[in-house]
Symmetry: C2
């Protein structure tokens, strides 16, 4: 059982990890081993104290070197769901189910807007992870909405279980798949159903399915956890970076503007200290 799982390897996640380390906590930093794509993309940052006129690539290298120097490894992977358990939480990712007492959501802002119904049916037919949930759809019809070529291997995986995979590729240069993968021409607009997903509505009609896999690079915290309070797509936190769910904290772009390295770094630090205080309360038997 980990003290904390930090989800996201942007500036907030890196900062949280460094502070958790300094607080001698037992934690996992889950994200991209090469850090979040967004860090490397910044052209030049002039207002991050300590790294004058740094490029995104320069900042990424500095952060990676510092994590290595502190002995902090990144578990390379994508969080696909967070579930409440008796002792805390389970964070599911492609390679593991991580048991932890607390979670810091530092997944950044989702560049891709969810489609209608995506959030609503999460866990009720909508999934972000083929390798986690694919086996649930053995012999069934599913849709796969795929945002980049990098996710094609997940479609292959799904095709092993499902009777039929209706593939909506939202990128160019689609590869080849097994015979039960059908490439759709329409654009998915909405996921509908009753208790569970029943169909995908496209600009060309409707397709009946039992499940929908939304396969994209990263999923911000918002979609990972049921009941998380948000406003205008940002996770609602107080000054201690606490969310409305005890034991769940959030830091960085996912908590709202300004979308800045300094702000993200500050919140990662604050979230880690709040985790520390929360764990101390748990240990004392307070709730």
């Amino acid at each position: 059982m980990y003290d904390c799982v930090v989800i996201g390897t942007g500036a907030a996640g890196v900062s949280a990890a460094l502070t958790l380390k300094s607080l001698d906590k037992n934690f996992i930093l889950l994200g991209k081993a090469s850090l979040s794509v967004k860090i490397g993309r910044a052209e030049v940052v002039k207002n991050y104290p300590g790294l004058p006129s740094v490029t995104g690539a320069g900042m990424r290298d500095a952060f990676l070197a510092q994590l290595a120097a502190e002995g902090i490894e990144i578990l390379n992977g994508k969080a696909t769901g967070i579930f409440k358990t008796d002792g805390g939480f389970t964070v599911a990712c492609e390679s593991a189910a991580l048991e932890c007492r607390t979670v810091i959501l530092a997944g950044g802002v989702e560049a891709i807007k969810p489609i209608a119904g995506e959030r609503e049916f999460l866990g009720r037919g909508v999934s972000y992870c083929a390798t986690c949930d694919g086996f649930l759809y053995r012999g069934k019809d599913i849709a796969a909405v795929v945002y980049s070529k990098d996710e094609e291997h997940e479609v292959e995986f799904l095709a092993k279980f499902a009777a039929r995979v209706c593939l909506f590729p939202l990128y160019k240069g689609v590869g080849e798949f097994a015979d039960n993968v059908e490439i759709m021409s329409g654009r998915p607009l909405k996921i509908e159903g009753g208790d569970r997903v029943e169909r995908v509505v496209t600009d060309g009609g409707e397709i009946a399915v039992d499940g929908v896999f939304m396969l994209k690079d990263a999923t911000a915290g918002v979609g990972l956890l049921n009941g998380l309070k948000t406003k205008d797509g940002s996770i609602t936190v107080n000054r201690g970076c606490e969310t409305n769910i005890a034991g769940v904290f959030a830091a960085g772009d996912c908590t709202g503007r300004p979308y800045q390295y300094a702000k993200a770094v500050g919140e990662g630090n604050v979230a880690a200290h709040s985790v520390n205080a929360y764990l101390a309360r748990l240990k004392r038997g307070e709730k």
Copy 2:
């Protein structure tokens, strides 16, 4: 009229200044030209992202170099009071009265606890600045509570005006002064009076005075501004680093724990963005 005066040259003030600069604002950074004493004192900081295992001195040098590279000068001085004006605020320091639309309080935590009555009588006989208020006590009896040898020049200044200066030196190796400076042996415990200061209560008795100068290295924001909402000695701010007074923002240690560089840097950034949004609202004629 400046867009903003940033008070304090710790991590929060430096971060706020760098971001105000990137937002192309017209501002003054007021504090120690060599940055806050506290920055340089840190032995080694392991959790500030971007500067691995940095010493306080190393961080100070990095910050100073970056300010210089961005063309940001520090106005060397100490804020001694902030006053509401029609167009915004006046920040008083030893060398100037700075007119500004907004203020960012980034003065850190006061290492020295105020004595009883100090806050209460601020502006009603208590002053933090000899060169600002000394002339008000021409021919009168005053007390000077002095925390370090560095402030002795202020005592000399006071002696030029006052009939009698009752000096309470709270350090060793007191120098020599003019004849009207009387070195007291007791420890000041309390400042008392009615509408204005009337006496200092010490562990040895009472001394009647018209004014009390509290002369120390720096004064946190808490004491500078009437009506500022605080809790347990920290300035109360929301997630946007806004205080209860419109146009006044606070960042860093003065807003409370954790007392960490990363947190301070993050809040400096957020405060600068909030200043920017506030100025935009002012310009549009909103309150």
